[in-house]
């Protein structure tokens, strides 16, 4: 993975020093809260319901065991012994003290991490496929390009006060595991007609109050044009994005107001002016330097060990189920990609305790060449596990409750912090996820239901990606009580779609019952191996509406 050199180290160290000064000025009263707020946000520090929250970047989801140990240290020393992984490859701490924040940032800098631009109206953490560099279906590793974009975006003098936040995601595989089409800019690495790999550029996707699937404005962009093209997009957005209404300030609104064609024309017009400027060209040596950090690790020469694993699997049904749910094929013979589920029944999705972090770090060194990944579905990934080690790893993961065999199933729920932590929330999200997790514990039943994503957000901001869950759950508030609005048919994949509203909102207690009704109806309707999403797309909303509201309509009274 990428390592900081002297320039990267200096930049981050200077940033920490600057923030230390700003915090001191705030504490002494030299800065008012109004003046300080944008400064702390640019360093990832929010003020939430209970305390300050610090959001730390995990660039394109890559993490080393050493970094994870430091995250554990920070959780213990400066927080309450846990961290929360978000849907944008960040980790959040919920009880950081303002006067200790500069020390936390220094502790992060010591392991080449930072919280720069994890909030604010600027380019946020660049996200990517968590299987980058390892997936069998991958065309090219997106990580070197993510790193290049990261550097271009950090402290950009022109684009640090955009109309609104700006999120970029990159995938190098045809199967989209990074919700690329739901980003302000999404990039797919793709070959053109001549077989040369470049980028498909998608603009104007996003969730929140006004959800949109992005538009492709360029089928293929040469790699050497990446920075100039991004700069052109950002410039058109910086000048033309709305600044009168924060709800309408994202690039998606601009793109949809102008039409994708007109937006593309404006971008192209600007791009032609800057395309060949040396300021936006990247020296070949620098691309090679960055790419070298993502070279294949020291894999051993192994032969495929599927037969051994198959024998172990047939001898142990639980190991078999875990393999089926959580283990993914690797492009290198003898290796496997392993998902660590942060969705054990009853646990807040995405939470990891300091003790678990330390244990995972140890297992990372033992089983995955010292490196792990974070996925936008709030799970962890070991990218380089030898197949012959799978059983030992599985046993070790069970000891820290990270072997729940539910990846991609109904209980692999995305949930934002919701009203338990978030100052913007309308309703809680975590307890709803916990209830569903407790309701569906039968592993065989989950496997039978198959691929089904449930995404929960505590408000319209949609950090829990409810619009693109196969089943989406949105928390709303009515007369001081929490209710939940269900949507069906969303997808964040290459076939991205936004969910349709099922009907009137229901109480928290009714949610697991409603999910059960939807699943039962799906099982009755599915044809062959059909996924829930495909059944839904074939039969539409009505059968499910009837299943949930029909014979046995949910009570209106919420249970507080």
């Amino acid at each position: 993975m990428y390592r900081y050199d002297e320039f990267d180290h200096t930049l981050v160290a200077e940033r920490v020093a600057t923030f230390r000064r700003q915090v001191a000025r705030r504490l002494s009263g030299d800065l008012s809260e109004d003046q300080f707020k944008p400064l702390r946000l640019m360093n990832g520090l929010y003020l939430q319901l209970h305390a300050y929250m610090l959001r730390v970047n995990i660039p394109y989801g890559c993490l080393s065991s050493r970094q994870l140990r430091q995250l554990a240290f920070i959780a213990r020393r400066y927080d309450r012994n846990f961290g929360h992984f978000t849907t944008r490859q960040n980790i959040q701490y919920n009880w950081i003290k303002l006067d200790e924040t500069p020390d936390v940032l220094a502790a992060l800098a010591a392991v080449e991490m930072n919280a720069m631009q994890s909030s604010g109206n600027c380019v946020r953490n660049i996200t990517a496929d968590q299987f980058a560099g390892r997936a069998q279906d991958e065309i090219e590793d997106p990580r070197p390009w993510c790193e290049l974009i990261r550097q271009w975006s950090i402290l950009h003098p022109e684009f640090s006060y955009l109309p609104r936040k700006f999120k970029i995601a990159v995938s190098g595989a045809p199967q989209d595991r990074a919700a690329v089409k739901l980003h302000d800019v999404g990039l797919y690495l793709r070959p053109n007609g001549a077989g040369v790999i470049g980028f498909e550029v998608i603009v104007g996707g996003g969730q929140g109050r006004l959800p949109y699937v992005g538009h492709t404005i360029r089928e293929w962009l040469a790699k050497e044009d990446l920075l100039s093209y991004l700069e052109a997009i950002l410039r058109i957005y910086n000048l033309g994005g709305r600044r009168d209404n924060p709800q309408k300030a994202r690039i998606k609104v601009q793109v949809n107001a102008l039409g994708a064609e007109e937006f593309r024309r404006l971008v192209d017009e600007e791009w032609e002016q800057i395309r060949f400027t040396p300021q936006l060209t990247v020296p070949r040596a620098e691309i090679e330097r960055i790419t070298a950090y993502f070279a294949d690790p020291a894999w051993e020469q192994l032969t495929d060990a599927s037969a051994t694993v198959a024998r172990q699997r047939s001898a142990d049904p639980a190991f078999d189920v875990w393999n089926r749910a959580n283990v993914v094929a690797h492009r290198r013979p003898g290796y496997a990609i392993v998902n660590l589920s942060l969705k054990a029944p009853g646990i807040a999705p995405g939470d990891l305790t300091a003790d678990q972090m330390d244990k995972v770090a140890e297992l990372t060194d033992r089983f995955s060449l010292g490196e792990l990944r974070v996925s936008h579905r709030q799970n962890l990934v070991f990218p380089d596990v030898q197949q012959v080690d799978l059983q030992a790893l599985w046993q070790a993961l069970q000891g820290v409750s990270l072997a729940t065999p539910n990846i991609g199933t109904l209980t692999d729920i995305i949930a934002c912090p919701g009203l338990d932590f978030c100052a913007l929330a309308n309703a809680r999200a975590i307890p709803v996820a916990q209830d569903i997790g407790r309701h569906f514990t039968d592993v065989a039943a989950l496997q039978d239901i198959g691929e089904l994503t449930i995404n929960i957000s505590g408000c319209m901001n949609a950090c829990g990606h409810h619009h693109v869950g196969h089943i989406g759950i949105l928390g709303v508030e009515k007369n001081g009580l929490e209710f939940y609005q269900l949507t069906l048919g969303g997808s964040s994949g290459e076939d991205a779609s936004l969910g349709d509203r099922l009907g009137r909102s229901i109480s928290a207690a009714e949610v697991p019952v409603a999910i059960e009704a939807i699943v039962t109806r799906y099982k009755a309707l599915r044809e062959g191996e059909e996924r829930f999403l495909d059944t839904y797309r074939r039969v539409g909303l009505e059968p499910f509406k009837e299943a949930v509201y029909g014979q046995n309509p949910p009570r209106r009274q919420a249970v507080a």
Partner: protein, 165 residues
């Protein structure tokens, strides 16, 4: 008016007349785009030195052909959060090759001086009691840049010698 140039308070010979009904005679004037458009020939005939004040929704390309008449372009930040003038400044310097003074006016905060400077601003009407101190405070905050702008500071990308892992 507290105008900062290269870290020092400097006198401002210009009168900002962009909000005035009657334009003073005999002094260097900063006028609004509307004033320039409606009184152009009178202003040119007066022989006064001229500056132009642009609002954040008035991109410099609107007056690209007239830039030669102005020794100052003042770009307005109606709120510090409105980042359009960063782009305007780069356009003036890098695209239209404007060599005169680019002045930051409006809600100009200490913590933004660095980015402004990098985008091509060279004078700053800084909000706050002690602009020289503000400048000193932020000087040296950032010595490394990942981006090249018109100011000529090299990017980290160009300084590295391709030494990899």
């Amino acid at each position: 008016m507290a105008l900062i140039r290269e870290g020092r308070l400097v006198p401002d010979p210009f009168t900002d007349a962009s909000g005035l009904e009657n334009l003073p005679a005999g002094v260097p004037l900063i006028v609004s785009l509307e004033q320039w458009q409606t009184r152009r020939s009178a202003l040119l005939a007066s022989g006064q030195r001229l500056g132009l004040r642009l609002k954040s929704d008035q991109p410099p390309r609107l007056i690209a052909a007239d830039l030669g008449y102005f020794s100052v372009i003042a770009l307005e930040f109606p709120k510090y959060r409105d980042g359009r003038a960063y782009t305007h400044a780069r356009m003036l310097r890098e695209r239209f090759k404007f060599a005169g003074e680019i002045r930051a006016v409006g809600d100009v905060l200490q913590e933004q001086l660095h980015f402004m400077h990098r985008c091509g601003f060279d004078t700053f009407d800084v909000t706050g009691p002690d602009p020289e101190k503000a400048w000193r405070t932020i000087a040296g905050d950032h010595t490394v840049a990942y981006q090249a702008t018109g100011d000529g500071q090299p990017r980290a990308l160009d300084l590295r010698k391709g030494t990899g892992p």
